[in-house]
């Protein structure tokens, strides 16, 4: 797999995680309930953190020079 394809794949995965996280956060705001708060913090927040981490990893790994063998 080429570097560009791998970066695009990571961008897609992180984008999907971020969208899912944002949808969970939007849904959690529809209710005033302790479970909505927990859903926001742990489910929505968790998906966002993973999505952002994968995105940051993708830009860091795309920026590093190819390994010399």
């Amino acid at each position: 797999m080429t570097m560009a394809t791998q970066t695009e794949r990571r961008l897609r995965i992180s984008g999907i995680l971020i969208v899912l996280g944002l949808l969970v956060e939007a849904l959690s705001l529809a209710r005033i309930h302790p479970l909505a708060f927990l859903g926001f913090m742990f489910v929505g927040g968790g998906l966002l953190v993973f999505g952002i981490a994968i995105y940051l990893y993708s830009i860091v790994s795309a920026a590093s020079p190819p390994e010399i063998r």
Binding site: L22, I52, Y55
Partner: protein, 212 residues
């Protein structure tokens, strides 16, 4: 003249979430957009900055909402405490405050319990999480009780400096009484002065106020 209505933080948050989703979805479907310098900058904004801003605003909004009476009373164990706010007897301190709008009704619990669960130190926040665990997965120990004795500070947020309090016959009968109240040495609630609080143990014997 029609007044301009400013959208609330929740509306702005929904708009921001919608915009972020659209922008992220655009890059998910066309990742080649990030090949250019401008595309990379856009990706950084929508994959990093906007989600962080949304999460921060959402956390703040949830914290505000958790002050609402509705939030506290959403746990079954709190039902009697919610009901006690309608006791038709002015001797019951929370009921008298709630019914006479001495506290904001929509934030009734939080107004008098400002250091409870979400709003104290890390330890008290962890207790808040434990409450949710016990509510759904554990066994609730009844009767429920405060972790620490009720602090006069909660009363003095409003009553401190008020003429009726500062010049009250009993409060000012002896300078040492006022000093003891203000230093929390003499409890407002348990020293025999204002000791009718929620009265949940005998709610079935009491009459209730019905707002007209």
């Amino acid at each position: 003249m029609q007044m301009l209505t400013v959208p609330g933080p929740a509306t702005l948050l929904y708009v921001l979430i919608g915009v972020t989703i659209v922008l992220v979805a655009t890059i998910v479907f066309r990742p080649s957009l990030t090949d250019t310098r401008g595309g990379k900058q856009l990706a950084f904004i929508v994959y990093f900055l906007l989600p962080v801003v949304v999460a921060s605003m959402g956390a703040s909004e949830h914290m505000e909402r958790s002050k609402e009476t509705q939030f506290c009373l959403s746990c079954h164990v709190m039902d009697p405490y919610g009901r006690s706010l309608s006791i038709d007897d002015p001797m019951y301190v929370p009921a008298a405050h709630f019914q006479n709008a001495r506290i904001p009704r929509e934030e009734a619990c939080y107004t008098c319990h400002t250091d409870y669960v979400m709003y104290g130190s890390i330890l008290t926040k962890l207790r808040g999480l434990r409450h949710v665990y016990v509510q759904y997965l554990g066994t609730i120990v009844t009767p429920i009780h405060l972790y620490n004795a009720y602090n006069n500070r909660e009363c003095l947020h409003c009553h401190g400096g008020a003429r009726s309090f500062e010049e009250g016959a009993v409060h000012s009968a002896d300078p040492s009484i006022m000093a003891s109240i203000k230093s929390n040495q003499l409890s407002c609630l348990t020293s025999g002065c204002h000791d009718n609080v929620h009265g949940v143990a005998h709610l079935s014997e009491l009459k209730f106020w019905e707002p007209k």
